[in-house]
């Protein structure tokens, strides 16, 4: 969710100078009181320590050190990064043809088809994650299908409570966040540019590499930032679909530090690398005009 909040901050000061300040006072105040200050309070905990049930407010870097040295945190962090990267790349591979088809090939019922893309977002994310549970389970839809069609003889247990299950679920639930920005940018891509490339000797593949890909970069980056940061910070899918009670990815571990272990300082310290990566991504995306600034 940090991504979306940071996006709002980006958008706010870009208005005309002077004029819109009174208009923005309320939302800015809201952001400050209910988002930025709590976030700062939370992050400050990273430099404190816990002493049985009370917080010791003397400055320490022990928690930060622990994040990078104490098992299993470094491994989980890397696993989370790899998972987020894999989900992002997969969603790009799935979303590009779909967005292209929607933007350039569909001649009728485009609104309806776009609606179908957005439609899953209307249901709770929790419901969608649960739906995957019933699909991936030992007696789930996927396994019954594989068995009735004779592809496998035994149910495959590796689908649920595993990284595979999380990967599949993530790829599905975040897909609309990749399709929508990609569709928007491909829809705006003039057909004459593609014809011009073809006219000048560019076959389909060359045209894709030299014209379509560079011009859809802002959409690709916008979608990637969303999918990547949503995966990085998620703890619901790991706890429902993932193995070893939701601690395979960093989100679950952070949740545990706050909710179960009651070690807020360590939890806060674990958030720092995620936050740093997401902010870094946003800066890169912004550099390439993915956050709405027109590059032309």
């Amino acid at each position: 969710m940090a991504a979306i909040a940071a996006k709002d901050e980006q958008a706010a000061p870009s208005g005309r100078k002077g004029g819109p300040l009174p208009l923005l006072a309320l939302p800015l105040g809201w952001m400050l009181v209910f988002y930025l200050i709590p976030l700062a309070l939370l992050l400050v905990h990273a430099f404190w320590s816990v002493d049985y049930l009370t917080i010791d407010r003397t400055f320490t870097l022990e928690n930060i050190k622990a994040v990078f040295t104490v098992a299993p945190y470094p491994a989980v962090l890397i696993r989370t990064l790899l998972m987020a990267a894999a989900v992002t790349l997969t969603d790009i591979a799935i979303a590009f043809p779909i967005s292209w088809w929607l933007a350039k090939k569909v001649t009728s019922h485009r609104e309806l088809l776009l609606m179908l893309v957005v439609f899953p977002l209307w249901s709770s994310y929790l419901v969608r994650a649960f739906a995957w549970k019933t699909i991936l389970g030992t007696n789930g839809i996927l396994n019954s299908f594989l068995q009735t069609t004779g592809i496998t003889s035994e149910p495959i247990s590796a689908f649920l409570y595993s990284k595979t299950g999380m990967y599949i679920t993530f790829c599905h639930v975040w897909l609309p966040f990749m399709i929508l920005p990609l569709y928007t940018i491909l829809d705006r891509l003039p057909d004459t540019l593609l014809e011009a490339s073809g006219d000048l000797g560019g076959n389909g593949w060359k045209t894709f590499l030299r014209v379509i890909l560079p011009l859809s970069l802002p959409g690709l980056l916008a979608g990637s930032v969303s999918v990547f940061s949503l995966t990085m910070g998620d703890y619901i899918t790991p706890s429902l679909i993932g193995g070893s009670p939701g601690t395979e990815l960093i989100g679950g571990i952070v949740a545990d530090q706050f909710g179960v272990a009651n070690n807020w300082p360590l939890g806060a310290a674990l958030i720092l690398p995620i936050l740093a990566i997401v902010i870094g991504l946003l800066l890169v995306a912004n550099r390439f005009g993915a956050l709405g600034r027109d590059e032309r």
């Binding site: 004459t192 014809e195 011009a196 000048l200 000797g201």
Partner: protein, 377 residues
């Protein structure tokens, strides 16, 4: 033993035309955009497809370029069947209506795009890009973005990007539409010169009749998916064969009249006002039928001012002057004819202080029967 066939070198009289369209049709669903076009374009010719929007001119152009495939019929370029060849396999380049420059590439990279695609080495590429930009008189802009250039400059870049590939055919789809009038006129002449200089065949699409008259070797006037008339600009203007062509290009007087019969090289007919006039029968004019005679306003003079001696056999029509409109180079006089209709006269303003006839007076106008044409409906 098969005999090795060699490609005949050099051009002969038997060389194939640059472009040949044979009974080309194109339908989109129920809509017929091009309804059977036959067209032959010579090497190095500047041919304009002229017509109102939706007449099929752009679709015809796109079928030559390979952006659309004909529903039926054949497209040949340099004597070779184009069949289903995609645009990048045809010896054709296109200048698009909105230029279609790649916004993420510099001007130099835009122009070099086609050379890069066909694998021209870097050194050659840079030289040819410079030459192409010099050709369109736009040096020293290689490193700029297209968005940093004016509309006229972007137009030149689009031209350079197409011409740098030395296409044997250049297709131009209303390329001057977005420019202001002055720039458009300058570019018209430049395009004409470029056509001579590079020797490529130019096929130009426009709805602007003046543009077509200025630049073309030949004009094909199109309407409703067909070529109505094909000919040199003078021929199209002076001898329109149909009411549509006469009306679309320039201003024309249409005079309805009943055929009396042939009269030498002319056909004689009687107007609604009972006057007999003669005209060139460009189409069949059977006696007893009704025909339309077309005559351009600048070919009509006031009888009192008609050249003496020469005008003895001219057509004369008498009516009431209803309008006098000063238009700078000429004054437009509208004479209402008895019965139905009117005739518009363009009177050149050669001298200052000429007195114009006043409205309401009876006026006789005269025109050479050779400048009047019988039209097909």
């Amino acid at each position: 033993m098969a005999v090795a066939k060699t490609q005949p070198g050099g051009r002969t009289a038997a060389d194939p035309p640059s472009i040949e369209l044979r009974r080309v049709r194109k339908s989109f669903g129920d809509f017929t955009a091009v309804a059977g076009v036959d067209l032959t374009v010579g090497q190095g010719e500047f041919l304009t497809l002229l017509g109102p929007s939706g007449c099929g001119k752009t679709t015809t152009l796109r079928m030559i370029g390979g952006f659309e495939l004909p529903s039926s019929g054949e497209v040949l370029i340099e004597g070779a069947q184009m069949g289903n060849l995609p645009p990048y396999r045809r010896p054709v380049n296109t200048v698009f209506q909105n230029y279609a420059l790649f916004p993420h590439l510099s001007v130099g990279k835009n122009v070099a795009y086609g050379l890069e695609m066909s694998g021209v080495p870097r050194g050659d590429r840079e030289r040819r890009v410079r030459e192409a930009l010099d050709l369109v008189r736009l040096p020293n802009v290689e490193n700029r973005r297209p968005s940093e250039l004016s509309g006229g400059q972007q137009q030149r870049v689009a031209l350079a990007r197409a011409l740098v590939n030395h296409p044997s055919v250049l297709l131009l789809d209303e390329p001057l539409g977005a420019l202001d009038l002055k720039l458009r006129k300058a570019m018209q002449l430049e395009l004409k010169h470029l056509n001579r200089e590079v020797g490529a065949t130019f096929v130009y699409v426009t709805h602007d009749q003046e543009e077509a008259l200025t630049m073309s070797d030949r004009i094909a006037v199109m309407n409703e998916g067909r070529i109505l008339q094909l000919g040199a600009p003078e021929e199209i203007y002076e001898r329109p064969r149909s009411r549509f062509v006469a009306d679309f290009i320039g201003q024309t007087n249409f005079i309805e009249c009943d055929v009396l019969g042939p009269d030498g090289r002319f056909v004689a007919c009687r107007t609604a006002g009972g006057e007999t006039i003669r005209a060139i029968p460009a189409v069949e004019a059977p006696a007893g039928g009704t025909i339309t005679v077309a005559v351009r306003p600048e070919k009509v003079s006031l009888d009192a001012e008609a050249p003496g001696g020469l005008s003895a056999n001219w057509n004369r029509l008498t009516g009431t002057l209803t309008e006098v409109i000063y238009l700078g180079t000429h004054t437009q006089l509208v004479v209402a004819l008895p019965g139905e209709g009117q005739i518009v006269v363009h009177r050149q303003n050669r001298m200052l202080g000429e007195t114009e006839p006043s409205t309401g007076q009876q006026l006789t106008v005269a025109f050479d029967p050779a400048s009047a044409t019988v039209l097909a409906e």
